[in-house]
């Protein structure tokens, strides 16, 4: 019985349990008001007891079965798996899966592999059968227990609501678990990387060339993972993006808040929202195909040497992408400045722009700084534009926006794609980069969100 059928059967059993519980409650009731709860709650009570324990068991079982079955097969076939590295073992496994799924013809496989594949399928079907029996038995036992407990004085509603409350709490913990998962997985893999490559060399190294030797006798390709060139490239593109996004975003927010007629606003606001809704891969395509060649041609006509994948092109397009983000954040901040401050300034005879520059903006400054920080964190974490329009090789530290640079996210996206093995410094370095990225953006966000909140309280 495959797991999907088990889940389906559980759902049906729970429904049956619901109907059964409700009927029994109605049957037990001697008259109106004789039951503690509405009959439906007795039904839910039985359904919960029937479905939830079995469901949890099935989920845990299915999570655990893969590693256990694999360990059993590996132990039973030392010829195939013993004294092999992790990556070699994973190759054997993918061979085995191909064999099972029929991609690889059985005639081409070795006897050992055939045996392992048969054992794997057998163990898996035994596990599924055992799961089906145990889960369904548990479901029926739960149903019987809950049905037996039904009596007119039983507080079914309270029990169901208590369960619901726990379920809600569990759901809201998923977000925390996600953060925990991110932190732990990044930390764990990054630690493995730093076990192979010294931490200080990573932080202060000025050379990034992650190509490691495939064979151990290959010369001169041990790979160096100096983080600084990536930091430089990331900062370069972020600064260019901010030079575009901050003035344009801020000014359009100001214009729309204080100057624009409702007609203009009704056109410009949706347009900015469209700009915000366009996926970054589209911006990446635009940068690589339209903006970068245009900048290159323009540079050549001016006699400048422009790289095909210049930092300027990527930064420019990223700036455009972030404009709506800055403008919507700035809009919130500007609206939070109390109207009385503006009226005061107008009363003293200031023009609109003087009011904005000398009263509104200083009052909104902390919020604007926070908005810029959020925008910076967004630019640092943006992947697709730079993956498509920025370079792969690390640039020189000469602050020339016309040259190609590479960024943290580009390296993450290119080093890991299509890679299966998980024990070379090259792939593990990605997690170290991910950790850096996560820490930097988290810090920026954390400070910015605190500033925004504090600031909002001040004027509320």
């Amino acid at each position: 019985m495959p797991p999907s059928v088990v889940f389906l059967t559980l759902a049906i059993l729970a429904t049956v349990g619901f109907l059964m519980g409700r009927r029994r409650a109605v049957g037990l009731a001697s008259g109106p008001g004789a039951l503690h709860s509405l009959p439906g709650y007795y039904g839910y009570y039985v359904a919960v007891w029937c479905g939830i324990p079995a469901l949890l068991l099935a989920v845990v079982w299915l999570t655990a079965q893969g590693p256990i079955v694999r360990a059993l097969v590996e132990a039973a076939h030392p010829a195939l798996f013993a004294s092999r590295s992790v990556s070699e073992a994973s190759l054997v496994w993918s061979d085995l899966f191909n064999l099972i799924s029929g991609v690889k013809a059985a005639g081409t496989a070795s006897q050992d592999l055939l045996g392992a594949a048969t054992q794997y399928s057998n163990l898996l079907s035994i596990s599924h059968a055992a799961l089906a029996v145990i889960a369904l038995a548990l479901a029926i036992a739960g149903m019987a227990y809950a049905r037996g407990r039904i009596s007119p004085t039983m507080r079914a509603r309270n029990a169901v609501e208590r369960f619901l409350m726990w379920a809600l709490l569990a759901c809201s913990i998923v977000a925390v678990l996600t953060t925990l998962g991110i932190v732990l997985s990044l930390l764990f893999e990054a630690m493995r990387f730093f076990g192979k490559y010294p931490l200080l060399d990573f932080i202060f190294g000025t050379e990034w060339s992650p190509q490691t030797a495939i064979r151990s006798d290959q010369a001169g390709s041990s790979g160096s993972f100096g983080f600084l060139p990536l930091l430089y490239g990331t900062m370069m593109i972020t600064v260019i993006a901010m030079i575009i996004a901050v003035p344009v975003g801020l000014m359009s927010a100001i214009y729309m808040a204080d100057y624009a007629t409702p007609r203009i606003r009704s056109i410009a606001k949706p347009a900015l929202e469209v700009l915000a809704g366009i996926p970054s891969v589209v911006y990446g395509f635009f940068a690589a195909l339209t903006v970068a060649p245009a900048i290159r041609n323009m540079g050549q006509s001016l006699g400048l040497d422009v790289a095909g994948e210049s930092a300027l092109a990527a930064g420019l397009v990223m700036g455009i992408m972030i404009v709506p983000y800055v403008s919507s954040l700035a809009d919130d901040v500007i609206h939070a400045v109390p109207q009385s401050l503006r009226h005061g300034a107008y009363g003293l005879g200031s023009t609109k722009s003087e009011t904005i520059r000398q009263v509104v903006l200083p009052a909104a400054l902390p919020g604007i700084v926070a908005a810029v920080m959020l925008a910076v964190s967004r630019a640092i974490g943006e992947t697709m534009i730079v993956a498509m329009a920025a370079g792969l090789a690390a640039g020189d530290f000469d602050f020339n926006p016309l040259k190609a640079v590479t960024t943290i996210t580009v390296q993450i996206a290119t080093l890991l794609v299509g890679d299966q093995e998980f024990d070379s410094p090259k792939t593990l370095s990605v997690f170290a980069l991910g950790l850096v990225l996560f820490c930097v953006t988290l810090t920026l966000n954390f400070i910015a969100l605190r500033v925004v909140r504090k600031y909002r309280e001040k004027y509320d």
């Binding site: 997985s185 359009s252 589209v282 709506p324």
Partner: protein, 435 residues
């Protein structure tokens, strides 16, 4: 009063004062123009972006076909002679297609020239003939007239994206001789430009003229289905708990801070999480919509929670108090009254976050959804790719024909996003209520 002050100091009537005022007004106008410029810049960028995409891409929805009459000879199509599907599949349809185009231009006879003539046809030609025969084996022995696609660079020439000087200069994968054949075919009226059903109904291909978005569209739909199934219940439940039931203590604060920060974590980090936890640890299949959907669900979860909480907060307390007053329990207040009232807002937020997830590429690269996949996925564990990743893959392809395919795929993606946003706006407009 002011008159008095003015007469005594002249501060507001002198020439200096007039100059100062003019300067202030000028700076006011400049500021205003600057603001206007910022808005116009953003609008211009949007228009330029859309213009480039559409002008590049709209032609991918048509394709250049050549009309051929193919003789389905039994010895080529059915070597086994038993009309069995597996035998028919192995027939030599490439030869049939070649003979068909030869019949269009019988004057070409030299071996070299014939090879060039065959090069006009796309590899899809033989596939199309095969599909026709497989659908209807009774065609064997007869001749059928059908339109088959030409090779990509000929298509590009027909659409004006390659000009004759490119071909003469050897900058295209069409030879001048092939161009001559193409023109002869055109004179005979055998070349036509038709709606490209292939693009919307097939999977990826190495040949630009045969590449389609259907496979990645199905992949996107399957992935989003998983995302919706996970993120919506989890998100709404979390929002309900945090907004309606959670005690105000430091644990709740921690969850809140955590959710706000999670919403701003770069999407590629979620991809790393998916790789390390779901693929390596739990052993979910690589490249599958299942893993992609789970990753995107975790990514959209905080956005859905934040939107749902805002929707719940917008329900006035009087509703809750009224329900409480009638004896409803706290859970009943929420499930019978607050949640239904907040549902339009929650759905709007969910659709918007799904639209965001639909356009997301980076985390899916991490879990291997970048593979070259021709087949349309049938289940959530099949290898698949999604629309934005398809765009990324095609954008990287060097063939000229892929540029318009990429733009067209972007148009399809934007159409989906537009539709989802339209639904969200419709929901908001239809069910929005002011309390």
């Amino acid at each position: 009063m002011t008159d008095l002050v003015d007469r005594r100091t002249g501060a507001h009537t002198s020439d200096d004062a007039a100059k100062r005022l003019a300067k202030r007004y000028a700076s006011e106008r400049n500021f205003r123009a600057f603001g206007m410029g910022a808005v116009l810049f953003a609008l211009a960028a949007l228009l330029l972006l859309l213009y480039t995409i559409i002008s590049d891409g709209y032609k991918a929805f048509v394709t250049t076909n050549v009309t051929v009459t193919a003789q389905i000879s039994p010895e080529l199509a059915d070597p086994g002679g038993k009309r069995e599907v597996n035998d028919l599949r192995r027939g030599d349809y490439i030869n049939i297609a070649r003979q068909a185009i030869r019949a269009d231009l019988p004057e070409v006879t030299a071996r070299q020239d014939l090879r060039e003539l065959y090069g006009l046809l796309s590899d899809g030609a033989s596939v199309m003939i095969r599909d026709r025969v497989l659908r209807d084996p009774s065609l064997i022995g007869q001749s059928i007239t059908l339109k088959v696609p030409v090779s990509s660079d000929v298509d590009m020439f027909n659409k004006g994206k390659i000009v004759e000087s490119d071909i003469a200069g050897g900058n295209a994968r069409v030879t001048p001789k092939q161009l001559g054949y193409y023109k002869q075919l055109q004179e005979k009226g055998l070349i036509s430009t038709d709606f490209n059903t292939w693009f919307l109904s097939s999977g990826d291909s190495r040949q630009p003229e045969l590449a389609g978005v259907w496979g990645s569209m199905v992949g996107s739909i399957l992935t989003l289905a998983i995302t919706l199934a996970l993120a919506f219940p989890l998100g709404v439940a979390s929002a309900v708990y945090l907004e309606e039931f959670a005690p105000k203590n430091k644990w709740t604060d921690l969850i809140e801070v955590n959710i706000n920060n999670l919403a701003a974590v770069p999407s590629i980090v979620f991809g790393l999480l998916g790789l390390a936890v779901f693929l390596q640890f739990f052993g979910l299949p690589r490249s599958a919509p299942l893993a992609g959907g789970v990753v995107l669900a975790l990514m959209s979860l905080p956005i859905i929670i934040i939107a749902s909480r805002a929707a719940l907060r917008a329900v006035p307390p009087s509703i809750r108090q009224a329900a409480m007053g009638l004896g409803a329990s706290r859970i009943q207040v929420v499930t019978h009254h607050v949640l239904p009232l907040a549902m339009p807002g929650i759905l709007t937020g969910t659709i918007l976050s799904l639209a965001h997830a639909l356009g997301e590429t980076a985390p899916l690269l991490m879990i291997g959804m970048v593979a070259f996949i021709v087949d349309t996925p049938h289940s959530v564990t099949d290898a698949a790719t999604v629309l934005p990743v398809q765009i990324y893959l095609w954008a990287d392809s060097p063939e000229r024909g892929f540029v318009e395919k990429t733009s067209a795929a972007i148009m399809v993606l934007l159409a989906f996003l537009l539709a989802m946003n339209a639904v969200a706006i419709f929901l908001r407009k239809k069910f929005e209520r002011k309390w």
